[in-house]
Subunit: 222 residues, 2 copies
């Protein structure tokens, strides 16, 4: 499978790239607005995987090119870059592709982080609005601490929640998620499930900040 990580030079993109690089044979396409930076970062990720004993297939491209080549397109960008990132690649998406949204809208004040979705109601709803109608949208990978994901020595043993309105697209993302060692994918419904899933991200940050000895938190349902 070919997986594009748009905004893949950021921390979520890094974590997913090196995990898939180590645990799968998928072709990984790190996308950025700056193709030169994408190529440099892709080399770094490849080295990280090699240091852990893996042989990753990771290359860097401008976002549009990465999306054009991919079967699965992960929007590893902050919520405020979702709309322009999709606009930049929309012509490269077709209805065999799946767009994956891992982002959560958050606001920080003196009490910590709170969930603040965009006016569409959730980041996933915004992604749905901005993505061509024929292309399925799936939410996944929200609640994985990026630092832990990127640390290939760190055990996972945690869950990711996957949701979407297209069953085949959800199944493809569930498979991709479970190919990461120690990650379990749990279905949670359609795109309407997005607010509760996205709300977990600020909650995890607050729990980590308020309790000693907890950091890079994930969650396990049992």
């Amino acid at each position: 499978m070919r997986v594009a990580l748009l905004g893949g030079t950021g921390d979520v993109g890094e974590g997913l790239a090196v995990r898939w690089g180590l645990d799968t044979a998928h072709e990984l396409l790190v996308g950025s607005r700056d193709p030169e930076r994408a190529r440099t970062v892709a080399e770094t990720y490849t080295e990280t995987v090699a240091d852990a004993g893996g042989d990753a297939d990771i290359a860097g491209y401008v976002n549009k090119m990465a999306a054009d080549r991919a079967d699965v397109v992960v929007l590893a960008v902050p919520p405020y870059h979702v709309a322009n990132t999709i606009a930049a690649v929309a012509d490269s998406l077709d209805d065999d592709d799946v767009v994956v949204t891992p982002a959560a809208g958050m606001q920080r004040d003196e009490d910590g982080f709170s969930y603040r979705p965009p006016s569409a109601g959730s980041v996933a709803a915004l992604v749905r609005e901005e993505t061509p109608d024929a292309v399925p949208v799936v939410g996944a990978f929200h609640n994985l601490a990026a630092g832990r994901l990127a640390d290939l020595d760190a055990a996972m043993g945690i869950d990711t929640l996957v949701f979407g309105d297209d069953d085949d697209a959800v199944a493809r993302v569930v498979q991709l998620a479970e190919e990461i060692d120690g990650l379990r994918a749990l279905r949670v419904g359609g795109l309407g499930a997005a607010p509760e899933v996205e709300s977990l991200t600020p909650l995890l940050i607050n729990v980590a900040q308020q309790n000693d000895d907890l950091h890079d938190l994930g969650v396990r349902f049992h």
Copy 2:
């Protein structure tokens, strides 16, 4: 300590009563609008604990009497009964007491459950509005599947999130929570943290409904 469970004849009240009955020596006051029903149910809980080898101190009272005798008052009622339950006991609360809110506002449609807080912004915010100002309010025990809590053979191994603006009150509830075997209490901030914590309740229900072999779900942060 004396702990009142208002609406304690319901499933959350049952779970907390039998767990504290088995694992602690606290005096447990099951409250109901109907004192006769409270007494009957308290006897049942006492028998449940006895069957598990414990010797619980559980008695039934009308809500107001339970609140009057207690140091900690748990509002084990649905969100739409919060306001009238507090109104019924307000004269019995003093500033040495702690009011605990475990409820979440939810709505069910064809896609599953969604978080729907009351207009105050969260159930905890509603409880804060309705409770006399001098009495601290703490959120806790939201994300414990009632059936699992009430089944004294079921292992816990899960977390509860505790939040509030009064540090001493939060500490008292953290202690009460951790006295339940296998339950870990994690602090998550002030009352402003309520929406993200309450949102976990519908999420847990949806995850349990969508994944085979998962039921009575709890969550572990790690």
